[in-house]
């Protein structure tokens, strides 16, 4: 593992729900990141964000780390869940909130 992979892994290990995004929760810098924030906020589950625009190493690194070419990327309980389309799809099927609640209630 390269050092950037280690950094990404420790970020993921450090949060039960982690969103790699452009911008931050208050000011998303991309429509797709904003859409995921909107969905996550509605679930009332605590989550952390990483602003890839502040860190070019992570911005490129997370794409190969996840084998996923786009940002945003959501990790729940250490596992890659998907990007904006998948998060919205899971939310509309009522699958996202239970997943987040299970992950955040585990020790």
């Amino acid at each position: 593992m390269s050092s950037v992979d280690d950094r990404i892994q420790s970020l993921i290990d450090g949060s039960k729900v982690l969103l790699f995004m452009k911008g931050n929760r208050a000011i998303p810098m991309c429509g797709f990141s904003a859409a995921v924030i909107q969905v996550l906020d509605r679930t009332n589950v605590p989550y952390q964000t990483v602003d890839v625009l502040q860190d070019s190493e992570i911005r490129e690194g997370v794409k190969s780390f996840s084998n996923w070419p786009t940002i945003p990327q959501l990790y729940v309980g250490g596992k890659f869940v998907g990007g904006c389309d998948i998060v919205r799809e899971m939310d509309s099927r009522g699958e996202l909130a239970p997943l987040l609640r299970t992950a955040t209630s585990e020790n």
Binding site: T70, G82, G83, D85, I86, E89
Partner: protein
């Protein structure tokens, strides 16, 4: 790269698939694709999206700025 190029690339890689691609802004860089393919059978949505990303390859980090995806298998 236009919507037609993307559609052709996906259909070529996934023979028999049904692909619709729309240029959402008219600017040639934001697209929306709906792909129905038997090749998705047994794969998670994450894997299905990864298949499309790998078909489009380097275009994903260049000319295509955004690609909204909806993938599914044909319903019998």
């Amino acid at each position: 790269m236009n919507a037609e190029d993307i559609r052709a690339k996906i259909e070529e890689a996934l023979p028999g698939s049904r692909v619709q691609v729309r240029d959402t802004t008219g600017g040639g860089d934001h697209f929306e694709a709906v792909v129905v393919a038997t090749q998705f059978t047994g794969k998670s949505v994450v894997e299905q999206h990864r298949m499309i990303y790998s078909i489009l390859g380097p275009a994903m980090s260049g000319p295509i700025h955004a690609l909204a995806l909806r993938t599914s298998t044909p319903t019998a």
